[in-house]
Amino acid sequence: MPVQLLPETPSQTAGPYVHIGLALEAAGNPPREQEICHVMAKPGAPGEHILLMGHLYDGNGQLIRDAFLEFWQANHEGVYDTGYALEKSFNCFGRTATTDVGEWTINTVKPGVVKNALGFPMAGHINVSVFARGINIHLQTRLYFDDETEANAADPVLNLIEQPHRRESLIAKRCRVDGKLAYRFDIHLQGESETVFFDF
């Protein structure tokens, strides 16, 4: 008999009302004194400030308006500072939800380069987890930046995706919103432009 570990507690969908628990204002409820939020970088934080935004689409190309997302990234120097505190000017973790018009936003800074377990540099990226009604176990993906062409081409994770055209689904598109630097990252849960989701 091989060694048996305890089985992990199985996942269940976060459901349509996930916001009352994890994104109180999106549910129309008052926030508590401290809430984990979509502002990862306050205005004074070091690094290049960016706005991330996007939509989520289902297999029919319809907007998903009840999703909840989590972001985890290195700081502008490529360091994962794990301690979360709202007093800090920058936190490596953030949460957001799609609004009634189906859009989510995150205020952050562009992440620095992190090395993989073999010591090989990975292009700047953000780990994104997607939760929603109809998603039985959260989907895990990565967001990369379209102005990092060379780094992306050498990225050891992007290169594990066999079909090169599917790598495009992980590349956020640079744009400007109200004069500020922004990147658009649309997630397609299913269909022709389906986003690549990871198992790790």
Partner: protein
């Protein structure tokens, strides 16, 4: 976590978890990827994660009987829900964030999109959070949520349940699930429960009545233990 560089997490058994596509839960049909998940090795981006032990909790954040108090107590069966968070090796997970949300005793959520006939309870918000203690224990006080109908099959009802979200030491251990209550006849009928194929896995989501934790003349108690992915040191790896 400081030792994230030297850690790996036990690979998820995706046959134990529900599959993405479970057609009897109709919303999953259009919200499940058709392509296979791409397997990637764990790097620091996957083995690290946020530590919420310094997030300031309100005094009643884990007490749903009091944290939305508008001058009275919520209606419903008073219960304690408590348990321990450990990893697959049985190691307790201390100081980790456990969050929960639920419907009130009538089966209604305090959410702007819930329009079920059952009324809101003015004294019940339905959200809680806490950190596990040094031994991985957590507890909440609340009312038992009611079952409610939902648009799926023409007459589908959710068993009484509480949504539970656990952070764990890394984004690799992140988990959101639902706990059910021992003895509820709606459990085996529910398409969301049935998204899990193993009966043993379903059983692990059913909180058990625990008379030893009940407060006499006050409230009953249910025990719900949580297991997150095992964390191990790396040996002889990548060199």
């Amino acid at each position: 976590m400081s030792d994230a560089h030297e850690s790996r997490f036990v690979i998820r058994d995706r046959n134990w978890h529900p599959k993405a596509l479970t057609p009897d839960y109709k919303t999953s049909v259009l919200r499940s990827p058709r392509q296979a998940l791409v397997s990637i090795p764990q790097s620091l981006s996957e083995t690290s994660g946020p530590d919420f032990s310094h997030l300031k909790m309100g005094r009643h954040d884990n007490d749903l009987l009091l944290n939305f108090n508008q001058g009275g107590l919520p209606i419903g069966e008073r219960i304690i829900v408590a348990g321990r968070v450990c990893d697959q090796y049985g190691k307790p997970i201390p100081h980790t964030l456990v969050e929960m949300w639920q419907a009130n005793a009538g089966g209604r959520y305090r959410h702007k999109k819930d329009s079920y006939l059952a009324p809101l309870d003015p004294n019940f918000g339905g959200v809680g959070r806490t950190l596990t203690d040094r031994d991985g224990n957590y507890s909440f006080r609340t009312v038992k949520p009611g079952p409610y109908p939902w648009r799926n099959g023409p007459n589908d009802w959710r068993p009484a349940h509480i949504h539970v979200s656990i952070s764990g030491p890394s984004i690799a251990t992140r988990l959101i699930t639902q706990l059910y209550f021992e003895g509820d006849p709606l459990i085996p009928m529910c398409p969301i429960v049935k998204s899990i194929s193993s009966q043993e896995a379903v059983q692990s989501l059913i909180a058990k009545l625990d008379m030893s934790m009940a407060n006499p003349m006050d409230c009953l108690a249910y025990r719900f233990d949580i297991v997150l992915r095992g964390q191990r040191k790396t040996h002889f790896e990548n060199c």
